[in-house]
């Protein structure tokens, strides 16, 4: 039907139009007003002087650590053996946080009130801090953990979810900036619709696994908006966390007012009080299980060593660990693109952003 060919024009034009809109959206986000030029030192000062402590936003986090996705390995089989494998499920939930992609929502109103929500499929994990009350809620098995902060505690112990926000993570990297780090400024970037300086931290070391860290610092407020950690020899970030939306308005106060819903399994968990620890700490058996880690090396080559404390067989016999680790001279090694963990045969644990040879050398000392 040659005379009706023009009736197919809309059908041909529609995908083109949609493609143009999608690509146009990509270009539009990159072509925003550039912030005023600043030296790396000025941006570092801007980030350090950031006073934003009231905001809400959505965060996307993904990682490419070269680890297998273990989300199906241990977490779901909690029906029968949850009582005796609490260590294993803690380990698997920590690994799940590291290996899978997540969408988080954060609401922060000052240092005393915060709420982090990890949005899972058909479920959600919440960490809420309201004054001295700390709540952890997991909707998939309707459990909640409640802790009360000691009145004189200066800093709240980080909930694992909270440490995933770009601001928290960036602060750790920025605090660690020392002469072993080259700080440069890349082209301005747009994160969550805000223009930002792209701070690039490059380790001045040949032995670390980290090739560079990119931190987007909001041009207006100095709030870190995204953190990308690149490993040696990869072009995709090994760890990526960024705001996808950000509002500096005060979040609604009732978000921080958490009461566990009816039918929730609530566990009360006492937090160790630092000031009380010397007085009665010697009597508690817990004191022995948290030995002081030994830190060797400096800057990016830092190696943390945990002395043999727990029964080493409990670590090496764990089926998940034996799947993830490979056997090397003197122990088992868990190799990711950013971090190497060596579990020696005598039960010590060494970790660092360095190749396994450095860990073996440190273990042999």
């Amino acid at each position: 039907m040659p005379r009706t060919w023009h009736r197919w024009i809309p059908a041909a034009a529609a995908p083109v139009a949609i493609g143009a809109v999608v690509l146009g959206g990509v270009f539009a986000t990159s072509a925003s007003a550039d912030p005023a030029d600043k030296t790396p030192q000025q941006v570092l000062e801007l980030a350090a002087s950031s006073t934003v402590d009231t905001f809400s936003g959505t965060i996307e986090q993904s990682s490419n650590l070269g680890l297998p996705d273990v989300s199906g390995l241990g977490g779901s089989s909690d029906s029968g053996s949850s009582s005796d494998s609490s260590d294993g499920s803690d380990l698997s939930s920590a690994l799940e946080l590291l290996t899978a992609s997540h969408t988080l929502r954060v609401y922060v109103d000052g240092p005393e009130q915060s709420r982090v929500q990890i949005l899972d499929d058909m479920a959600e994990r919440d960490a809420i801090r309201n004054g001295d009350d700390l709540w952890l809620y997991d909707s998939s098995d309707s459990t909640a953990v409640h802790s009360t902060l000691p009145a004189d505690a200066s800093t709240a112990p980080d909930a694992s979810a909270e440490s995933l926000t770009p601001a928290e993570l960036a602060t750790r990297f920025l605090d660690a900036v020392d002469p072993s780090t080259d700080v440069t400024i890349g082209d301005p970037v747009t994160v969550a619709g805000r223009s930002a300086y792209d701070l690039i931290l490059t380790p001045d070391s040949s032995t670390t696994l980290v090739s560079s860290v990119e931190i987007a610092v909001d041009a207006d407020t100095g709030l870190p908006l995204s953190v990308d950690v690149f490993a040696q020899g990869t072009s995709d970030p090994a760890f990526h966390v960024a705001f996808t939306s950000l509002s500096l308005d005060t979040p609604s106060a009732d978000l921080f007012d958490f009461t566990p819903p009816a039918g929730t399994d609530v566990t009360e968990k006492a937090l160790p009080n630092r000031d009380d620890a010397p007085a009665e700490g010697s009597a508690t058996p817990d004191a022995g299980t948290h030995p002081e880690p030994i830190v060797t090396g400096t800057g990016w080559d830092t190696i943390v060593e945990l002395p043999a404390s727990t029964d080493p067989s409990s670590l090496t016999d764990s089926p998940m660990l034996s799947q993830l680790t490979t056997s090397v001279d003197g122990g088992h090694v868990l190799q990711t693109t950013l971090l190497t963990v060596l579990i020696t045969d005598d039960g010590r644990v060494l970790a660092g952003a360095v190749p396994v040879e450095s860990l073996q050398a440190a273990a042999g000392k």
Binding site: M1, T4, W5, R7, W8, I9, P10, A11, A13, A14, P15, A17, I18, T58, S79, R105, Q117, L119, D121, M122, A123, E124, D126, Y137, S139, S140, D141, S142, A144, S245, S252, L255, F258, T259, P260, P261, A262, G263, T264
Partner: protein, 289 residues
């Protein structure tokens, strides 16, 4: 298809009100909802939450074992039955019924040789396509609301009803939870817009309505299989079924609207592309039946 009576009366209705688009749309709806098949499908959908509720009621009288999260919360609150019903119906039952309605839209008229009479009367082909599509959309809404309302009613009948616990752990009152149930039904309706457009396009390709229905349903299943394979991850955000279960975001506190928006945008893209394809095919086609 034992629907000669409603079809004839529908044609009568068309003849009297054909000058108005709204009248044509109303008569098309009358044809759709006078069909016994439409009511059978809505009843079957209503049976989904009813069966869930009855099964849970019978089996959970003694034990309090933990099942899937939604099924488990039914026993604590009957208002969850509607949501559980939608969750179970969205992957298969809803696409099945939508595939029947959308796949039948043009091919069914062609098959019963009523298509040319429709077009002989001054009903433009574009208007016919639009009205057929809108009727399918109304059916999507009716199907989602049927599931939701049937679930809530059977839940109220069989289980205690009270304030609803959201995924975030917050508790909202009954009024708020009913609003959220309505929003979830709307979300499901929006989710099916893309599939309806695909079905409409397939329906213009053939004169055999069964083939168009089957092809539409098969496509919805293929999309969901692709969505579950990690090897096709790059394709996932483009699949019309990708956000189908994203209505969980409406059960958070505060409501996370981004998945609603992304879903609506994606479905709009499907409507534009497959609407244009359907127009290209239908307007250039020789109507012989």
């Amino acid at each position: 298809m034992s629907s000669s009576d409603p079809r004839a009366s529908g044609l009568n209705a068309r003849r009297t009100t054909r000058s108005l688009g709204a009248g044509f749309f109303a008569s098309e709806l009358a044809v759709l909802f006078r069909r016994r098949r439409t009511w059978a499908m809505l009843l079957a959908l209503a049976a989904v939450p009813i069966l869930i509720a009855v099964a849970v009621r019978i089996s959970s009288s003694g034990s309090s074992g933990r099942g899937p999260a939604f099924i488990d919360s039914i026993t604590q609150n009957g208002l969850f039955v509607g949501i559980a019903g939608l969750t179970i119906a969205i992957p298969l039952f809803l696409p099945l019924t939508v595939g029947v309605v959308a796949g039948d839209s043009i091919a069914g008229e062609a098959n019963t040789a009523t298509l040319r009479y429709l077009l002989v009367s001054p009903v433009g082909r574009i208007r016919l396509l639009v009205v057929k599509y809108l009727a399918a959309v109304v059916f999507c809404l009716a199907a989602a609301l049927t599931l939701s309302i049937a679930g809530i009613l059977i839940g109220i009948a069989l289980f205690p009803v009270g304030p609803v616990t959201l995924l975030s752990g917050d508790t909202v009152g009954i009024g708020d939870s009913l609003v959220r149930s309505l929003l979830i039904a709307l979300y499901a309706t929006v989710s099916l817009l893309g599939l309806s457009a695909v079905g409409l396009f397939i329906s213009t390709l053939t004169d055999a309505p069964v083939g168009a229905m089957a092809a539409t349903v098969v496509l919805s299943i293929v999309a969901q299989v692709l969505d579950s394979l990690s090897q096709t991850e790059w394709l996932h955000p483009w699949l019309f079924s990708h956000y189908w279960l994203g209505f969980a975001d409406l059960l958070r506190q505060p409501i996370e609207w981004s998945s609603f928006g992304q879903n609506a945008l994606l479905q709009l893209g499907y409507v534009v592309v497959f609407g244009a394809l359907a127009y290209g095919r239908f307007s250039s086609k020789d109507i012989l039946s």
